[in-house]
Subunit: 141 residues, 2 copies
Amino acid sequence: MIRDPLKDLPGYALRRVSVAFMSRLAARLVRLHLRPTEATVLLVIQDNPGVKQSEIGRLLGVVSANMAPLVARLADRNLIIRQAVDGRSQGLTLSEAGRRTAQKARGIMDDHEADLIAHIPKADCAAFVRVLHTLANQKDN
Amino acid sequence: MIRDPLKDLPGYALRRVSVAFMSRLAARLVRLHLRPTEATVLLVIQDNPGVKQSEIGRLLGVVSANMAPLVARLADRNLIIRQAVDGRSQGLTLSEAGRRTAQKARGIMDDHEADLIAHIPKADCAAFVRVLHTLANQKDN
DNA sequence: TATTGTTATACTCTATAACTATA
DNA sequence: TATAGTTATAGAGTATAACAATA
């Protein structure tokens, strides 16, 4: 066996766990022909009808240059509808097909989250979730 | 303010934290002209002189097709030395420059890990690290 | 002036397929 | 047959720069 200098680095473990988790989520979402980021955008629109893509980008940490083609793909597939709210921005809502897809995506993501929780020893689960939210809500980049 | 349907999903928080953490690490490593993955490979070689790149790939979860150009870059920069151990595989060791670079990379990564720990409430830190290692060592993909 | 949306471009990590050469 | 290494290619997320149009 080979020595592992990264064995005791929590940050490295965090990275590995996140990559594996995302890869499994992507595999589950191919059934809906959605990427993980596309799925999250659908959920945000579902919960915020009329939201602007700039607002979604700020919420999810996606820069506007990447929101543009993402939203365009969803619109091309008739999953969302763009309606001008003023001259430079559009409100996004789900189409009927988009509602169905968003509902399925939500089910997949909920199952996926439940799987994660299921793999965590019960005694440590609450603390784990607490720390994640603490770290996620820190302003350092 | 806009509703956030992902607020209570630990898996999503995990992803966001991991991305931010990795991006900060990448920013710190530019000084050495190293990507995060290159830095981890250097550390593995430092701790395992003569290791084969296939072994590194298995340890780090990097497929061989991606190890090839990565190792080639490090060799081109004279940070590592490839010595044939048999007809199809080579043992990797650090050059003198590679040792210096690996040492600096280790310092950067240690600092970076320390920063992560510093942002975690003390009471939950041990549980957090425990869970990460539990999840990282599970065989599900 | 600041914001919205867009295009073009690039980097990093990940992955599969197909191949050569060797064990 | 299986393994080591390589090349080519692709997908996904992230990022910056530059721009037009609008507020």
